[in-house]
Amino acid sequence: MVDLIFYAAATLSVLAALGVVLARNPVHSVLWLLASFVGIATTYLLSGFQFLAAIQVLVYGGAIMVLFLFVVMLLNLGDPDAEHDAPVMQGGLTPRLGIGIGCIVAALTLLTVANANLAQLPEGVVLPIGGLDPLKQMALAMFTQWTLAFEGASVLLLATAVGVLVLAKRERASVAVSPPQTLTAAKEEAA
């Protein structure tokens, strides 16, 4: 039964991933991606990773997807007519190249996975009660062994905040010139 759910979730995530790539409307792509993440979260949960499943839903579904959706709406890209690169259907070299590369990567990795010769898992191992990612141990490890990575991540978030602020902040009135023609005027002004 549990296995069945796993395979169902896996199928869902693959189909949804295809949906992301194939959908014409970016809003649909975002929604498909969300579905795919839910499927992946389910596989995490079934594999014994409760904490990961939780943050997968919370961070990905709750934060990242909203961010995507927000930008799509902000830039008013939801209109399907505005989307010109209907993939696959339209022919041309790029889609075929893309599919080709994807297929090659898939074939290569599948081949190596098939030949992986992974050690046989012992029979009858049951998941520990705390799951395979017990929170306390994770916390302990993260604050000792991986302190540097953890602190690095915090600096990373800080830098990201600063960087995104620079990139996305509205241009100030004195420099706010969106059409490129007036750029020289702005240059002179700034100088």
């Binding site: 705390g130 306390k136 302990l140 302190t147 540097l148 990575a149 990373l156 600063v162 602020l165």
Partner: protein, 513 residues
């Protein structure tokens, strides 16, 4: 006993005890983790982080904005002092010291690499002073981002497991994505940032997937443990994972066939950022590549050598076609990555026997390259103030008459890039090919070294334009007042000559064991 096992054992105990923590063993664990060595190893990174925080505070108050350069330089100097400590005061004997549960290396080479990264950052920052015009309100943010990148580089150089390395990689990349697009009112800068980001993110995904496969096949992500796993490294799964990871590192290091983004991104980014990318990123990528070279099977070492020659060829012939100096330097940067790749190939071909020699060669090469390319980019950023046209090779005509000092500096840097003796570039090349020949890669070395004749072809074209061809018509604009950039050029020129004439201070037996 490695801390990894301690953690696992304590996890086992607590799980068996129903999840309750033993405070004593936890305390013990903390005491074992945060040792004096760990503090020494972290000092350079912590100084930079403190610098970032102080910079952010300075941004809050109008009056404090003036001390920004002092804070920046202070952070760099404090960090350099930390690196110097690692370099000079780490004992040479015995097994390598690893701290923080074995995730971070404390060694002389980490210290030296740190100095190289800091030099690259310093050179980039000095030339960025007075470079930006419309972006003036964001200069504080600029400095913060520039100070973040070397933290990432140091993490990459010292990382002993893939998690730490991965965070280091991101800590280096994210600020550079933002900095590449820093001149956001210009189309080319935004385009450079986006191209760099999209391909960089693709590369990171590739790295992670490869690491995932390697982890599944071997059961560990720690480099010292990966050294021990033996046969598990030879399974197809592990090999695929390693190949994907190398591909992604080659992307960062701009190795053929992952070099295509380089010319566009280098050209579109603000020149100081290009300088940091060309020198710092490359150095960090190679620092880790050399550390992880043992992952490359000996049988694939020749392949790496061939890639090195191909990269050299592609970079040099690409540079030969260019009319714009910045783009030419970008292509030549690819060629230099090719030369450096010889050190990785040498280390892999000798099955780690030559890893110390290869690392030392790479450090020397990069140290020379930081000042050579950094100086060239500094001059370029200075010239850019004259207008777009003045950075094309045609636009440089007659520079020797107009501004002999600048032209002399550029000539020195170009000769060093070409590897003419008495400059740092030669010493670097000499050591790198020394390592390659030690690993018995003579044919590849000859191929590689003959390609540098092609390189001289295009470097000399610039020298010809500057000194031997008359200036085109039209008044040259007055020279831009850029004292920091001038200081940067002078500093770089002095270092290029110093490394070229007296390499002893870098290559003496004390560089590292």
């Amino acid at each position: 006993m490695s801390l990894i096992t301690i953690v696992q054992e304590s996890a086992l105990q607590t799980t068996a005890q129903g999840g309750a923590f033993d405070p004593e063993s936890t305390q013990q664990l903390f005491a074992n983790t945060f040792t004096g060595d760990a503090a020494r190893a972290l000092a350079p990174m912590v100084s930079l982080t403190v610098g970032i925080l102080v910079l952010l505070v300075c941004e809050l108050f109008e009056g404090l904005k003036k001390i920004r350069p002092a804070v920046f330089l202070g952070a760099i100097l404090a960090s350099a002092w930390g690196c110097w400590g690692l370099w000079q005061h780490t004992p040479e004997i015995g097994a390598p010291v690893r701290v923080l549960g074995g995730t971070l290396l404390v060694s002389q080479q980490v210290g030296v690499w740190g100095m190289v990264f800091l030099a690259a950052t310093l050179v980039a920052w000095m030339q960025a002073r007075k470079y930006y015009r419309q972006e003036a309100p964001f200069l504080g943010e600029h400095d913060v981002l520039m100070l973040t990148a070397p933290i990432g580089m140091m993490m990459m150089a010292g990382a002993q497991d893939l998690i730490t390395f991965f965070i280091g990689l991101e800590l280096l990349s994210i600020p550079l994505y933002c900095l590449a697009a820093f001149r956001r009112v210009r189309n080319d800068s935004v385009e450079a940032g986006l191209k760099y980001f999209v391909l960089g993110a693709f590369g990171v995904a590739m790295f992670l997937y490869g690491a995932g496969l390697l982890y599944t096949a071997t059961g560990t992500m720690s480099l010292p443990e990966l050294r021990q796993v033996g046969e598990a490294l030879e399974s197809p799964l592990a090999r695929t994972g390693i190949a994907l990871m190398l591909g992604s590192l080659f992307f960062k290091a701009s190795i053929f066939p992952f070099h295509l983004w380089v010319p566009d991104v280098y050209q579109g980014s603000p020149t100081p950022v290009t300088s940091l990318m060309a020198t710092g990123t490359k150095a960090a990528a190679f620092a880790f590549l050399l550390e992880a070279a043992f992952l490359v099977p000996v049988s694939a070492a020749t392949l790496i050598g061939v890639l090195a020659v191909l990269t050299l060829a592609v970079g040099n012939f690409g540079a030969l076609m260019q009319k714009d100096l910045k783009r030419m330097l970008a292509w030549s940067g690819i060629a230099h990555a090719g030369t450096l790749l010889f050190t990785v190939a040498a280390s892999a071909a000798s099955d780690g026997l030559l890893s110390a020699e290869a690392t030392q060669a790479a450090v020397l090469y990069m140290a020379a390259y930081v000042f050579t390319a950094g100086g060239a980019f500094a001059l370029l950023s200075w010239l850019e103030a004259d207008g777009e046209h003045h950075t094309t090779i045609d636009g440089l005509r007659g520079l020797g008459q107009r501004r002999p000092g600048m032209a002399a500096g550029m000539t020195l840097f170009l000769l060093s890039l070409g590897g003419i003796p008495a400059t740092g570039g030669f010493i670097g090349k000499f050591f790198v090919f020394g390592a390659a020949v030690q690993a018995d890669m003579i044919a590849l070395s000859i191929a590689g070294i003959l390609l540098s004749v092609v390189a001289l072809g295009y470097y000399l074209r610039v020298v010809i334009a500057m000194w031997m061809q008359p200036a085109k018509d039209g008044q040259a604009p007055p020279m831009a007042e850029r004292p920091w950039a001038a200081a940067c050029v002078g500093f770089c020129a002095a270092m290029v000559v110093a490394i070229g004439v007296l390499p002893g201070f870098l290559s003496g037996s004390t560089l590292f064991p």
